[in-house]
Symmetry: C2
Subunit: 339 residues, 2 copies
């Protein structure tokens, strides 16, 4: 029952190397022979054993998708799961499979991130990089396998790695600009710990400063930092400081999930959004459309990122990509009802 290439060759009446070449569509095999063998293989339901093929060719036909693992949120975030779904699909078009893995978990001796390469389980990695360390990057570079970072933290060896960034400074700017345009002058910036959030805050700051130097009067601005990106964390933080928060008329929350926590907390306590306070989020996850009022937010181009990342890693694996792959995409303001 167990079919291998030599048995197939016997059945086809040729040598196994001819079968191998026929299945790989080599020009060295006569057209008629090729077709005959391919049909026989089809008919018998034969498929190459990928372990063997991998061993011989060095190609695994698998790409690893690696994202940070949080013990607080042990499943993928809405953002990454969308991206993973799209990447899986895009990779399939190239005959590649997607293996998912995590990093940053404390209960694993070693990160999946280098293990997958060392074990040669994958041809390349797409890494959701906002939490990779310099050391991890360095050891990855030392291994020499293709990898591509999505939104690495701003300090990581930017010029040295293939990467796709989103211009979060611009995103923060757009958010600030939107609040100010809505006539808001007492602004609260709700941020989270992590370098990627600082960049957004900087953009936000720039929007404020630009306006202040203009005709408008001074703008009041304060910051609240959350420990993580959970709904409950945001909700509780606002609830605890409700009086203080009520003093503001515009809030920029640096992730949609937290935004919805803020939004719900305000609504639950009788604060009207957007009449009393405008709220603007960040990410444009699917659920931002479904809140009432629907959330005005900064859209991250997930689909484009997934598409670009896939094309990038594919060309790196096939070797078409020699020079540095580095793209920057722009977020977009999505105007809904909360501003």
């Amino acid at each position: 029952m167990d079919l291998n290439i030599r048995k197939l060759a016997q059945l086809a009446g040729t040598s196994y190397s001819t079968v191998s070449r026929a299945l790989n569509d080599s020009p060295l095999v006569k057209e008629t022979t090729k077709r005959r063998i391919q049909e026989l293989a089809q008919q018998l339901g034969y498929h190459v054993d990928f372990s063997a093929k991998s061993l011989a060719t060095g190609m695994r036909m698998i790409v690893g998708l690696v994202y940070p693992f949080h013990s607080l949120r042990p499943y993928e975030s809405v953002y990454t799961s969308q991206a993973i779904g799209r990447m899986r699909h895009a990779l399939a078009q190239h005959g590649l499979d997607a293996l998912v893995a995590g990093y940053g978990s404390s209960d694993r001796a070693e990160d999946d991130i280098t293990r997958l390469i060392r074990q040669k389980k994958v041809d390349g990695l797409i890494i959701f990089g906002y939490e990779v360390s310099e050391e991890q990057i360095e050891s990855l570079r030392a291994l020499g396998s293709p990898f591509l970072l999505i939104n690495p933290s701003p300090t990581t060896a930017a010029e040295l790695c293939h990467q796709i960034r989103i211009d979060h400074e611009l995103g923060g700017y757009l958010a600030g600009e939107r609040l100010i345009r809505a006539g808001r002058r007492r602004l609260l910036s709700v941020t989270e710990v992590g370098q990627q959030f600082q960049v957004r805050a900087q953009g936000f700051q720039r929007a404020v400063e630009e306006t202040e130097t203009g005709a408008t009067g001074p703008i009041h601005r304060e910051t609240l930092t959350l420990q993580n990106g959970l709904f409950a964390t945001a909700y509780d933080a606002i609830a605890r400081n409700l009086k203080w928060v009520s003093g503001f008329d515009g809030v920029f929350v640096q992730s949609d999930i937290s935004s919805i926590g803020v939004l719900n907390c305000l609504l639950d306590h009788g604060v009207s959004v957007p009449r009393d306070i405008s709220v603007i989020g960040y990410d444009d996850i699917e659920w931002a459309q479904y809140t009432r009022p629907a959330l005005t937010t900064i859209h991250q181009p997930v689909q484009e990122v997934a598409q670009l990342a896939t094309e990038g890693i594919v060309s790196m694996i096939t070797g078409d990509q020699s020079e540095l792959f580095a793209k920057q995409l722009q977020p977009i303001l999505v105007d809904r009802e909360s501003c």
Copy 2:
């Protein structure tokens, strides 16, 4: 630079078979030698090549997670992505990696579902099975590799495959019972196309009938069928039939996403929930907590399913599992504000 087991043996001053045994912790190797070799490997950053190991042992150390692919919703649903995240984590505890794949896509000549087995890329499959066909199951069984179905459609060869089911009949019953308990007597059941939804409708029906034979008066009940599980589809369907829908005082919607579509549509048109109409959903996705009013819904035990599925597939792969693996889990009513 490229390290293999023979080079490592040279460096260690032993034969390569001893190295292989040492790394696999075989009792045939002296403790001191074993330790010496392991330390050397560690120090040199050596990892076995998994393609080679797979070829020799027949173990891929990869499990495929396969879910239905919808062109309408090309990324994973909230439900599957949660499950995938948890399974990935649980599999990692056993040293297994997770490969994600889809089935039912029209743009692939063959489904990933049997390809992965044929190519021997995975040791086993966990299949989100509500849309697998009999033929697919049959050809999978013919291949002889371990696979486990999660929530297969009720008609599929239930007794023949390893599987985990959720008692959706009970789920539907709980939903109906809850609406009736809230005093609702004119009930609308919003369902979707697909066999798994019929079972929920049957449970709902049972709740209605049980009550009718009791002391309570007759209960009016009608059905609305949606073409798919998108938010917009549900929203539009309600909007188109707003007048008709207003005649009901209780709505059971068979997925949370659709529920939220229904809920938003009602709220947007000035219908008060739960005062005028009670709404109950199904799934208990994360976002059900964040709607206002928060959605009363039927909780699917995703975490338990993921845990069980992982343990099941692992024991099947290691061969510990000989008899049929078949579990049924019970959904739970989660009472929030929409009833």
